[in-house]
């Protein structure tokens, strides 16, 4: 039996000492995390990827001594899940797709807004009473940007003419080269338009049409290379893993084009789908005033230019002042987006011609039914 005398009686950290050391280190590290100026107001933002980044909020942050803290979601369902997971009042600003605003309202997550606070005069007539943003004549969300979904394709592999119909996805030479953005709503909506469900709308279909839609969709499965989340959608098109993607539009290809990728989007002859984003103010936020100021900023010409050219994904503008400002600041981009009265792809013109349909939740089926069909389609 040996007793190791050399080890006894020497100060060795005990459990308590280790905890003290840990606590001290934590205390030391905290000052390095806190910013050195007078504490700016924090705004908690819940949005699609990229809306809290400096290119959009930097100017506002500097001017109002504000710091944006953002939580990014992918898809309206994900957004709802995230809000439900946090204590009420966590999020001050919520960027939401239009069709989910009513659910935010029903679940009690957002505050009522005063239309007088926002430049409704500047907004195009078509968008003043945007369905979903109002309930019982009360305003709950303000439209700030939108975009079109159609056929996104690689310009070196597919001609614009071919891409002008959803049928292009079924072309035999594209087998294994088609990608899906992994969200049922835009995908099924697009195929619904191909099925001819333009009236009353691609999302308002009866049982026979729904069954037919499922059949058409299933017939596309052999062409599919994969189902991608946001990041995967970008990289699969970038790397030419896929040559065309269903369920997306310029919001993806516009970014890739900036990096020089040979891709483009087009609204096909069967029609396109409009996604619409709006800001709401979170209930119990405590920062309603500054949140309101930010929404006003985004709707101002300066803010509109920034949101049109958002680094994460570009968008079209709902305000006349925004159009003018973009034409002045970046005429090439205004041209590309069609935010000029004379343009062919002028979004308001397309809307008036009935070629664009708002994306919405399915009317005659439950959201669950669409989601479950999507799961089934994926595992085929």
């Amino acid at each position: 039996m040996r007793v190791n005398k050399s080890r006894a009686n020497i100060m060795r950290p005990s459990r308590r000492d280790m905890l003290k050391i840990a606590g001290a280190s934590a205390a030391f590290s905290i000052p390095h995390i806190r910013p050195s100026q007078a504490a700016p107001t924090e705004i908690n933002l819940l949005s699609w990827y990229g809306h809290g980044e400096p290119d959009l909020v930097g100017e506002f942050e500097a001017k109002h001594n504000v710091k944006f803290k953002s939580k990014y979601y992918a898809g309206g369902d994900n957004m709802l899940a995230l809000i439900a997971q946090s204590p009420p009042g966590t999020y001050d600003l919520i960027l939401s797709d239009a069709e989910y605003v009513q659910q935010l309202l029903t679940a009690g997550y957002i505050d009522q807004l005063d239309p007088a606070d926002y430049p409704f005069d500047d907004i195009f007539d078509e968008f003043k009473q945007f369905p979903g943003h109002w309930k019982d004549k009360k305003l709950y969300a303000v439209i700030v940007r939108y975009g079109h979904l159609g056929v996104a394709y690689n310009t070196t592999k597919i001609s614009r003419e071919d891409a002008s119909s959803y049928k292009v996805f079924w072309k035999p030479e594209l087998k294994g080269k088609i990608g899906h953005f992994d969200w049922h709503l835009p995908n099924l909506g697009s195929i619904s338009l191909l099925d001819g469900n333009a009236k009353p709308g691609p999302f308002d279909i009866n049982k026979a049409q729904w069954d037919h839609l499922k059949e058409t969709t299933r017939s596309l499965r052999p062409q599919v290379a994969g189902f991608f989340d946001l990041g995967g959608t970008f990289s699969s098109l970038k790397s030419e893993q896929v040559w065309a993607t269903v369920g997306i539009g310029d919001w993806i290809t516009g970014v890739l084009k900036r990096d020089g990728a040979p891709v483009d989007s087009v609204v096909p002859k069967e029609g396109g789908i409009q996604w619409t984003e709006s800001y709401s103010i979170g209930k119990n936020s405590g920062k309603q005033d500054i949140a309101k100021k930010f929404i006003q900023y985004i709707l101002s010409p300066a803010g509109q230019v920034r949101t049109a050219k958002l680094k994460a994904y570009p968008a079209l503008l709902p305000t006349k002042g925004g159009w003018k400002a973009l034409q002045a600041a970046d005429p090439a981009e205004a041209n590309r987006l069609g935010l000029i009265d004379s343009a062919d792809n002028n979004p308001i013109k397309l809307l008036r011609e009935g070629r664009i349909h708002y994306r919405r939740l399915p009317v005659q089926q439950s959201l669950e039914e669409w989601n479950e069909f999507w799961q089934e389609y994926k595992s085929a």
């Binding site: 040996r2 006894a8 060795r12 840990a22 590290s29 990229g50 953002s70 997971q85 204590p87 990041g231």
Partner: protein
């Protein structure tokens, strides 16, 4: 003793191949983090530090790194402390239900992290701490206790059982014996456990993604970038993360190696 030596060279080459496979992604991330092209394709373009500059000037990323470090530190301390208590219990005592006790200590790694994340999210929301740093620390500690326990237990099994007995015979209370004998003996393994659990926590992405809310750690930011729009920053972030965890793991291994007097085989 080991048979014909002709194919020994092939076998060693095979080990080399295995190591190459294992380190390939790390090397790729490191190399591309200095590549100026926005697309991660060959051939490489010019050498640049701009992605690192991007990362260094991004306040959100910096605070994420700080948060990850803080969480890792707290997790290391907590899980090593509890790990020691658990290892010591297993070493010193036998009691009814010991099997259940040991199972409780070693079970967490058998639960897939996605499931753990979901369960933690639901439970910690219930306890109203979801979305805070405390939530991440709590969840990670649960995951890391088995690692700490295993490392310390291994070291304790090398301790002469007579040591404590002698101390008691000489009049020391069992607490004193632990403080002056067992803890010093296990010192390096305690440090190794801290280093390793810090590494595990630093890299943990699934559970953190579920419970961190707005308090993002680095892996959560990486996940967001991967699911948002992959940009070249991710290689720079990855390189920094690799260097950090590799240093921690190397430190842990050295500590374990040095403290083990009787190791005939490797760790």
């Amino acid at each position: 003793m080991t048979g014909p030596r002709l194919d020994t060279l092939w076998l060693k080459a095979y080990v080399g191949l295995a190591l190459a496979f294992v380190f390939a992604p790390i090397a790729v991330a490191l190399v591309f983090s200095f590549n100026s092209s926005r697309f991660p394709t060959l051939p490489l373009q010019s050498f640049t530090l701009e992605w690192y500059e991007d990362v260094a000037s991004n306040p959100e990323l910096i605070s994420a790194f700080g948060r990850s470090a803080l969480v890792a530190l707290l997790v290391a301390a907590l899980s090593t402390a509890i790990g020691f208590a658990t290892a010591y219990t297993d070493y010193r005592f036998s009691f009814r239900g010991k099997g259940f006790f040991v199972a409780l200590a070693l079970l967490p790694p058998t639960i897939p992290s996605v499931i753990m994340g979901l369960a933690m999210l639901a439970w910690l929301s219930r306890l109203a701490i979801s979305g805070t740093i405390a939530a991440i620390v709590v969840a990670h500690t649960v995951i890391c206790i088995p690692f700490a326990t295993a490392i310390i237990r291994l070291r304790l099994s090398e301790m002469d059982a007579g040591l404590e007995l002698a101390a008691w015979n000489l009049g020391a209370s069992p607490w004193t014996a632990v403080r002056t004998l067992v803890l010093p003996f296990a010192r390096r393994s305690l440090l190794a456990a801290m280093a390793l659990t810090a590494a595990v926590s630093f890299d943990e992405y699934a559970v953190a993604w579920f419970v961190s809310g707005l308090q993002k750690t680095v892996p959560v930011v990486v996940l967001e970038i991967l699911t948002g729009n992959v940009d070249p920053r991710i290689n720079a972030i990855g390189a920094i993360v690799f260097v950090t965890s590799m240093s921690l793991v190397i430190a842990a291994q050295i500590l374990i190696g040095r403290s083990s007097q009787k190791s005939g085989t490797a760790e």
